[in-house]
């Protein structure tokens, strides 16, 4: 039971942290609970579908289907995260007025696009497919341990939900005028980490052969296998031995999203200086 709990928890932790950040980033947006739930439900349904067709997917593109699929899902999430940040930069404000701005946006009928619901769905789909494959394998092999398996899995999911709650509550402690800046950065770093992960899949698929060499080794500081390492991996894309390609993708996404949000910010009116 403990084994299945740990395995399921490791898989859902990523989705849990992302859900917590998304909830904090959309605080004050009416109806966001519905959209996040829709993302989760859609992700679970998608995960079952992906798991059912795992072999078919894997066989595509000369056996690289699984890696390409994972990379595609990750990069889609990167685009969604960038879109969300750009939208918030255009329609939000930098200081205490942020909450009111979102409220005002709602009055005028504008709402942040449901890009983050897609991000939630993508995360749940990726991790959920692995959980489903793990569970169906164990269940078919060891019929007698079904109760243990169910309990362990439920426990793992509960811990993942706890992680979501912890990060959400933790972020809500931030004063409102800073909350959107902080969540905007968290979203940028989340996207950068996902881009780096996508690069690892593409390297594994043999689709890219450049930049595979290890840049540095920080295992002495924090290992990928530790819990803190895994949390940091999800939040900022930390990996103890990044490849050059991963580091380049990370930097490119941070720079790209930062530039995008700068550009998206509304420009001050040109005629602010009265004519002489």
């Amino acid at each position: 039971m403990l084994a299945s709990l740990i395995i399921v928890f490791r898989e859902v932790l990523e989705a849990g942290l992302i859900i917590g950040i998304v909830l904090a980033a959309t605080r004050g947006v009416p109806g966001r609970g519905r959209w996040v739930t829709a993302g989760i439900v859609g992700g679970v349904a998608g995960a079952c579908l992906v798991a059912a067709f795992a072999d078919v997917i894997s066989d595509q593109m000369e056996g690289t289907g699984q890696e390409l699929f994972n990379a595609a899902v990750l990069l889609t999430a990167v685009v969604m995260l960038a879109w969300h940040n750009a939208w918030m930069a255009r329609h939000g404000r930098e200081h205490a007025a942020e909450m009111r701005a979102v409220g005002r946006a709602v009055e005028t009928g504008e709402r942040p696009p449901q890009a983050l619901a897609v991000v939630v769905g993508a995360a749940v789909l990726r991790e959920g497919a692995e959980v489903v494959l793990f569970l169906t394998g164990i269940a078919s092999a060891d019929g007698g341990g079904a109760v243990q398996l169910a309990l362990g899995s439920a426990g793992g999911i509960a811990l993942g939900a706890l992680a979501a709650l912890l990060i959400y509550k933790g972020l809500l402690n931030i004063p409102v005028r800073h909350l959107f800046t902080v969540t905007s950065w968290l979203i940028t770093l989340l996207a950068a980490g996902m881009a780096a992960s996508a690069m690892a899949y593409l390297t594994q698929a043999g689709v890219v052969s450049i930049g595979g060499e290890e840049l540095w080794d920080t295992r002495f500081l924090l290992t990928d296998q530790s819990l803190a390492g895994q949390v940091l991996h999800i939040l900022v894309g930390y990996t103890d031995r990044p490849s050059a390609l991963q580091a380049a993708a990370w930097v490119a996404v941070v720079a790209g999203i930062t530039l995008l949000t700068r550009l998206a910010r509304p420009q001050p009116p040109a005629s602010s200086v009265p004519a002489e």
């Binding site: 699984q66 793990f134 394998g137 595979g212």
Partner: protein, 110 residues
């Protein structure tokens, strides 16, 4: 006869080290009873590798390593190719995430 002996002498240490050469740079690992066979693999450092992982179990396994980047789910009875970027000399662990107590392996890059 001497050539055969010579070939066997060359092949024997390779067999002991457990590096099953398929094609150049390709190495095969079998998953059986939730264990890797061979559990230790010698590979050349500094060149691209392809690990051919054959899952002879009935259930899926997630072939994974944080030491060299690899993460692939391999269905029961299926075989997968995993590309590994050139490795520095050293020891690299890999595991089957769905059966971590038993599915543990090591790559030794020389």
């Amino acid at each position: 006869m001497r050539r055969l002996l010579a070939a066997l002498l060359v092949a024997a240490p390779l067999g002991v080290a457990g590096s099953a050469l398929a094609a150049d740079g390709e190495f095969t690992v079998v998953i059986k009873d939730h264990k890797f066979q061979p559990a230790t693999l010698e590979v050349p450092a500094g060149q691209k590798l392809v690990l051919i992982v054959e899952n002879q179990d009935a259930t899926a396994e997630e072939f994974e390593s944080t030491d060299f980047k690899a993460e692939k789910i391999i269905g029961g009875g299926r075989t997968a190719r995993v590309n590994v970027a050139p490795l520095k000399p050293g020891t690299y662990k890999f595991f089957g995430e769905f059966n971590m107590e038993t599915a543990q392996g090591t790559l030794i890059a020389k």
